[in-house]
């Protein structure tokens, strides 16, 4: 039996695997990509596609900033549907406004432009916000994209450089020196596991939980909101460990549609839309933008965020192995941080000095 050999076998073609395959092929490696479903059809297809720097964890901020710079190369790519609407963090109450000041300073120090807004400036930018907001923080250069098509673009670009896509194939098991596919065939070479929530099937030693989220999209209402809007308390929902939480997080799509989020649940395992969760999430949104109530919803759906115990992705060698790599566990930020993750990982694989410190993401932290 002939065994196909590669310099890198990327397992999973979500936004993370696609970015890794793209970076590896650009580096001259002979790349295989294995994906059982549509490219970008996992968590990547469910995502909001907001490119955003979160600053509450310095490591996360470094990775986001590194990635956001690379996203600029996609600003003119038609498929990316890149729209620089900016992020507007809304403060309710003086405490939140004070936290906005701290955050703006932190972002500024990291080189991300951020402006503090008083209430009047806030309402000038977003007149539909409910009365009583204290102000906010505008991060004007941030953008939104359409993630599945970016993943498809990255895979196609890798294919144009010679990468081979095993479409409709699943990796059954990792084997010494390679991977076995579900049709029994073997691929040989170093592997990079980028299977998101499905990571434990191949690497059970790396804990991963799937964190369910709901989204709703409306019909077209251009101009009702103008920026990606989040409440300043969003980080508490995103990075807290509550079994379930919601946060105000709404986005104007370039089509004029409005995308509404967000919810987080650890114990829900089925993909069905939960009326109770939807209600909690939407009521949160209405409390910030009451006009949303009367808009027509076209569709609601759910997705699962791949979540590690400390919320940071695994980027690096599988503990105890030299030819198995992992890039998974990006939780609610994987679209933002996919490009930087891929560069970081390629530097590690190629034995180069990464541009940012890789230690916080090392999978070996779980072995300790």
């Amino acid at each position: 039996m002939s065994v196909a050999g590669y310099d890198l076998i990327v397992i999973g073609a979500g936004i993370v695997g696609a970015a890794c395959a793209d970076a590896a092929s650009a580096d001259g490696l002979r790349v295989a990509i294995v994906e059982p479903g549509p490219v970008g059809g996992g968590a990547t297809a469910a995502a909001m596609g907001h490119l955003v720097a979160m600053d509450d964890d310095p490591a996360e901020l470094a990775l986001a900033r590194y990635s956001l710079r690379q996203w600029e190369a996609f600003a003119d790519l038609k498929e990316a549907e890149f729209s620089r609407c900016g992020t507007l963090w809304v403060a309710r109450g003086e405490n939140e406004l004070a936290s906005a000041a701290t955050r703006a300073a932190r972002l500024g120090a990291a080189g991300v432009e951020a402006q503090l807004l008083d209430a009047q400036q806030l309402y000038e930018l977003e007149p539909e916000l409910a009365p009583g907001m204290s102000g906010g923080m505008l991060v004007p250069r941030e953008a939104v994209v359409y993630p599945p098509r970016v993943a498809q673009h990255l895979v196609r670009r890798a294919q144009a450089r010679g990468a081979v896509l095993y479409a409709g194939r699943r990796v059954q098991a990792l084997r010494r020196g390679g991977a076995q596919l579900d049709d029994g065939s073997m691929l040989s070479g170093p592997v990079l596991v980028a299977t998101g929530c499905a990571l434990p099937a191949l690497l059970p030693q790396l804990p991963m939980r799937a964190r369910k989220g709901h989204l709703v999209i409306t019909d077209r209402y251009p101009g009702v909101i103008r920026h990606q809007l989040l409440e300043l308390g969003y980080a508490d929902s995103a990075h807290g460990d509550a079994d379930s939480s919601v946060a105000f997080n709404v986005q104007p799509r370039p089509t004029g549609q409005i995308l509404l989020g967000s919810s987080r649940e650890f114990s829900a395992t089925d993909a069905a839309v939960s009326p109770a969760m939807l209600r909690r999430m939407l009521e949160r949104c209405f409390s910030f933008v009451p006009a949303l109530r009367e808009l027509q919803a076209v569709r609601a759906w759910t997705g699962f965020r791949p979540t590690t115990p400390d919320g940071r992705p695994y980027l690096g060698a599988v503990p105890g192995s030299t030819d198995q790599w992992v890039a998974a566990g990006h939780e609610g930020l994987g679209v933002t941080t996919a490009l930087g993750s891929a560069r970081l990982l390629l530097d590690l694989i190629r034995n180069r000095q990464p541009a940012i410190d890789p230690a916080p993401y090392s999978p070996s932290r779980m072995a300790a």
Partner: protein
């Protein structure tokens, strides 16, 4: 705000009316809901010019003890209850037994020019006309497939339209073979003869297909490929429909199994119209296109079943089987042919919500794949039109929908009983 009925019927067409009336006659507390402002469904849609046919009036008058819930749209299911949008907000309805009588919609197929203003569905234009949309004096071409073309044409003519011609894609042999079979259904034969009489003088062509609609900002003329070659016909309106497809989306949302052994899925039911989900029955077009007679008899069967009277339901089965055979006959003789399937070019828009041309879908093997890459089916209709057309063209089956079933206010999805405007009105 939750209301409970012993028997809840979704759809107030002939099937739903029969189901509700029958169940109520057994003493059940029955709710009959429909998204439309009036009962009657498709065939008995209220006509601003004419009184409803006697059968319709009788069916509605027979609804003793039935609560008629007009302008109630079922948009989602919530833990065994139905979330229903109404003009002033939303409500939640629960039931002991549920009858799905959601009917059918028209099959629209893409061809060059089909998105021009002035082009519509045949049943679609018929419905608009009944609601008072003016067609008097307009030159109309009716085209597509099946007896619905004649019904639509008759309505249009009654409202003053000038019918330029009716173009049936099925071959003359096929239509004549169908007509010979009509002898076994005298009532149908009479109905057909009446329609033809109302359409006296209007050319009715077989093996004739509208290839293309022309016009800059609006329809001006159509190109017709008939038995005797191609011709160009001036007209103001083109009404084109290729038959009907069952509305199965609500059944699917409720977890009922579908029967995929057809070009377009049907709700799967056993002999006594039970779906795969306990306490949920289905009747009429939703279980496969069969027409008015099937709808009425199946509605009655489902009504007996929902009220727990199986023997009464069984007694109607022979009649039902006979009526169903007529539906099978229709499907056999009027199924769209290869010529119709080949009309759209790669440039023809397939998804009207998102402006996706057919050619953009080349190379995609399933609906979800294509949707993620091209947005086909992502719009407000959730692929009801394009997904159904793509299945008919043999590309790939339509993907499963997501809630809400129809676009609905965010407040409804949030389970808010009243819309905010009403809430504020009542609090001031």
């Amino acid at each position: 705000m939750t209301e409970r009925y012993d028997v809840l019927v979704v759809g107030a067409g002939p099937a739903g009316l029969a189901a509700a009336g029958t169940a109520a006659a057994h003493g059940a507390r029955v709710g009959l809901l429909d998204a439309q402002p009036r009962a009657g469904g498709q065939v008995w849609r209220h006509d601003v010019r004419k009184n409803a046919p006697r059968a319709a009036r009788e069916a509605i008058a027979a609804l003793h003890g039935v609560t008629l819930l007009a302008q109630h749209s079922v948009i989602a299911s919530e833990d065994g209850a139905l979330r229903v949008e109404i003009p002033q907000g939303s409500t939640l309805l629960t039931y002991g037994a549920l009858v799905l009588a959601t009917g059918a919609r028209e099959l629209l197929l893409p061809f060059p020019g089909w998105t021009l203003p002035g082009v519509s569905g045949a049943g679609g234009l018929q419905a608009l006309t009944k609601q008072g949309w003016p067609v008097a004096g307009k030159r109309v071409v009716v085209a597509g497939s099946g007896p619905l073309l004649l019904a639509a044409a008759a309505t249009l003519r009654a409202h003053g339209a000038k019918l330029v011609g009716i173009h049936e894609q099925a071959s003359a042999e096929s239509v004549h073979a169908f007509a010979r079979q009509l002898l076994h259904w005298p009532a149908r034969a009479t109905q057909a003869a009446l329609l033809r009489a109302k359409l006296a003088g209007v050319p009715y062509r077989f093996g004739s297909v509208v290839r293309q609609a022309h016009g800059e900002d609006a329809l001006r003329l159509v190109e017709i490929d008939g038995a005797h070659g191609t011709s160009l016909v001036d007209c103001d309106l083109l009404a084109v429909g290729y038959g009907l497809v069952p509305n199965v989306e609500l059944a699917q949302l409720l977890g009922c199994a579908l029967d995929h052994g057809h070009p377009h899925p049907h709700v799967q039911v056993d002999e006594l119209l039970r779906t795969s989900v306990p306490a949920i029955l289905a009747a009429g077009e939703a279980c496969g296109i069969g027409g008015l007679a099937v709808a009425r008899i199946e509605g009655a069967i489902a009504g007996h079943m929902a009220a727990g009277h199986q023997d009464d339901a069984r007694a109607l089965l022979p009649e039902r089987d006979r009526a169903r055979r007529f539906g099978a006959l229709l499907a056999r003789h009027f199924a769209p042919g290869a010529r119709v399937h080949a009309l759209a070019t790669p440039q023809t828009l397939i998804c009207r919500c998102e402006d996706v041309p057919l050619g953009a879908l080349d190379g995609y093997a399933d609906a979800r794949d294509a949707k993620l890459a091209t947005r086909c089916g992502m719009g407000a209709c959730q692929g009801r039109i394009c997904g159904t057309a793509l299945a008919e063209l043999g590309r790939f089956p339509r993907g499963a929908g997501r809630p809400p079933l129809f676009p609905a206010r965010l407040a409804t999805l949030a389970g808010l009983a009243l819309s905010s405007s009403d809430a504020s009105r009542s609090s001031t």
